[in-house]
Symmetry: C2
Subunit: 568 residues, 2 copies
Amino acid sequence: MDFMRVAGAQLNLEVGNIDGNRDRIVDAMAWAEDVQADVLMLPELAVTGYPPEDLLLRETFVSANLAALEHIAARSEDVVTIVGFVDRAGGAADDAGHRRLANAAALVTGGAVKGVYHKALLPNYGVFDEDRYFTPGTRCERTWSIGGAPVGVSVCEDIWLPDGPPADQARNGARILLNINASPYHRGKGGEREEMLATRAAASRVALAYLNLVGGQDELVFDGESMVFAASGKLLYRAPQFVEQLFWVDVPLPPPEPGAAPAAIVSTQPLLEGPPEPPPPPAEPLEEEAEVYTALVTGLGDYVRKNGFREVVVALSGGIDSALTATIAADALGPERVWGVTMPTRYSSSGSVDDSQDLAHRLGIRFDVLPIDGVFASFLEALDPVFAGLEHDTAEENLQARIRGAITMALSNKFGGIVLATGNKSELAVGYATLYGDMAGGYAVLKDVFKTYLYRLALWRNRRSEVIPTAIIDKPPSAELRPGQQDTDSLPPYDVLDPILERYVEWDWSVAQIVAAGFDPAITREVARMVDRNEYKRRQAAPGVKITTKAFGKDRRLPITNRFRDDR
Amino acid sequence: MDFMRVAGAQLNLEVGNIDGNRDRIVDAMAWAEDVQADVLMLPELAVTGYPPEDLLLRETFVSANLAALEHIAARSEDVVTIVGFVDRAGGAADDAGHRRLANAAALVTGGAVKGVYHKALLPNYGVFDEDRYFTPGTRCERTWSIGGAPVGVSVCEDIWLPDGPPADQARNGARILLNINASPYHRGKGGEREEMLATRAAASRVALAYLNLVGGQDELVFDGESMVFAASGKLLYRAPQFVEQLFWVDVPLPPPEPGAAPAAIVSTQPLLEGPPEPPPPPAEPLEEEAEVYTALVTGLGDYVRKNGFREVVVALSGGIDSALTATIAADALGPERVWGVTMPTRYSSSGSVDDSQDLAHRLGIRFDVLPIDGVFASFLEALDPVFAGLEHDTAEENLQARIRGAITMALSNKFGGIVLATGNKSELAVGYATLYGDMAGGYAVLKDVFKTYLYRLALWRNRRSEVIPTAIIDKPPSAELRPGQQDTDSLPPYDVLDPILERYVEWDWSVAQIVAAGFDPAITREVARMVDRNEYKRRQAAPGVKITTKAFGKDRRLPITNRFRDDR
């Protein structure tokens, strides 16, 4: 039986690091020559990193990417390397002159670019803006001949629709579909992808190799988990999630189609002969909490590393959010690069300092206590000319949070670490967070994690090693900004709040739909109002890791000025 | 000669205020009946407000908009009203189920919707994301018969390309083109539009009426300036910029085309007879500084009003930025709704308090002095356990800015006003601004105004009435965060910096291109680096009014994590 040795380089590439990406691609090509691969797959837009966003509007960026492709092509030998890059395209431009580009895959071998494919289906929803930059490909149904075997090449979205270019390529005689990706993670997406890909292979009765990017980029994490399927739809190989992996699989090819359309010749080098090697053992998908936790570790770790920070600063309140944030940071960067600071006031419970200290000790991170009562008092004094005689209210509560924000930022400015904001998705949704206070920071690792889910992650992490003190997990949530305060003074309990938020924010359900599903009308209406009126806070929030189907940020773009109230 | 009485309602509508917009539309229809108009034009997406962004993903939002259109149609009488709304469309949806909508114009008369047009050209560049929501229209070449005269209806972008739907409509016999818009302002755009529209009318030899929205919506200001042209391309009428206007013009129609394609009948009500009335006198376009200043007043005023704030708080530093911000606020809202606060430290010049007080007195706004030396000292004391023995640096400088940010936010929390951030585009570009310090606030009115341009605005404003003290205009720019500090300690002079920024940020020029145009290579390279590495600060900045072709915000979408350095 014919087979093709398909190698994949599931790499963690960097947006804008064109020289660095080029060198990593060239290294992978040398490895693929060593293992005698027929084909090497690299991620979508591997040369530029993904997503490059408006860097694509800079001519020098596009030119540098094309020069890197030339360099890559010049170093190619026997292996046919399929690598994502930005191509210039002749398509119609809008009146601003954009969209003259294509999201492209080059087929390079023997020292030259032998073929170029332009992505046809451009995602322009959710976090994606590909219509802003790219013009869709044409002639996407054609196939390429590698060692006499016709193959189909496509990019990411092209394979998501049942009748996209890969289906046409299979009809034209492709014996294997090679699909390169930069497919961002959300919880459970791996299973959806695997099912979709197996269906595509089986429906077309061709082999299929799917190669994905890995690593964090601002709000996105790419989870890797590249996969290879036989023409039956059977999974041959699955790469691990969230880590780099070089792999190769001898993929059995279905019999050639007698009347197949002619394929553009890329390489006449015959395919390997002899019996195929058995595929390496597939990596098992992570269990759900492990997967989400690893996504957070990857997103934070890459944000910190790729932006050149040495360390992170975390304000430890004694609560679960900051404890989990510090734990994720220690797992992502090592404890020696995490600095925990607790800043108690007269309203802090004695537990908040002791529990934070206990956490820091268990994690092995630096820990300092910087009491802020004096600063708070001096603020009240400074404000006395205008505040005298008025009741304490959220103004004074927020002041405490902002003092803490100013102190962590001072540590950042003085010692160079990046401050991590500790807020979660529930708080950010309803605005139960202080702008420039607990929202201060360069990255908000829990931004897309609901409060109830955060406990699941903490318990899962503690089963590996018990780093988060039970006292922190067990105490009722409190901002501790006034005596005896608890979150439930202002909000419904989180196990009521979070399911409503999930429906309203992530699923775009109406209030009426949520109520019809059995939720309390008054609470649902009030939650929806809180979400709507706090858009201004979210607009100034730090980025964080997307782990759900709809995260705050580029994924959800609402006007701040908005009089629509979904409560009919 | 045949003529058509075309009325326009250049209204300031609100995003999401579907009931309110509906009522304003119905009022305009009653007025149009009174003046015996044949046609009434309302803005693009008048029912929903523009741009509704991801509200379009909520089914209840789309339904409420359709119900409002029904209500509008039921109230229609003899006039044919052309009104923008969101229609459901059968087009292909992406896998997320979106894009089943159309950006539509309804033709309503005699109690019913008589025709619907779907926008064909969907802008998806700059601030626009229309491909995210809408599927393009088809059959856009058809015409509609109103009183026997064929007319062409189109929406905004449709008319920007020379060969778009309006040109087809003219070829099919349209005697007048009716184009409804939500076209956002940038400096000088009015002239571009007028020239483009005159060219379209003359090229097709048909009359043309262009109706634009007015008012502020988050980062955008719509400048109105609706226009009507004869078939010769001659301007018949120009509505004023930035204000609401109801107008009507008796527009002479070119002779009917003998072999014109049949038009869909909308109304058989004959057109007015008798001699046409002369058009009202056209408004003169504002001179450049007046136009920009009015855009800022409109953007700020509408943001504050539409979000329901009673007053604004401005930290007055004694510098030009805060002085101009307070002046614009006083002009937008009235002095009684502006609260100026100055927060001196030991590093503040005596001038900064006196000059601020002088400004406040001239503007007639409330003014308070809240010294912050005590707060600063208490912060240093709180930080002493970790800062002891280290040199003062930007950590201490930023602390002062953050104390001021915390105080203005405390005033906001206590009394309900919105804090205005006072930074300008030059500072925000190079990161010469403190996150959570001078960047704190809900709106940043000067965000898209370069420092050098800001002086032009101040001098222009002072020619109307001298509200900004000369001492403020004449002093060298300083953050006053350490003794004797001046901006030029850290930055090139603004008259060197701003032209480089304009080329790098607004025109996407490369460093090499800027240097080739005669700018200093070392300075240009350093400026480009400062712009690139401060993306993270801009991501957390407040929104502000777009006045240039490329503003920070939705208009310019760069990754934070970005290793590309454009300095080859």
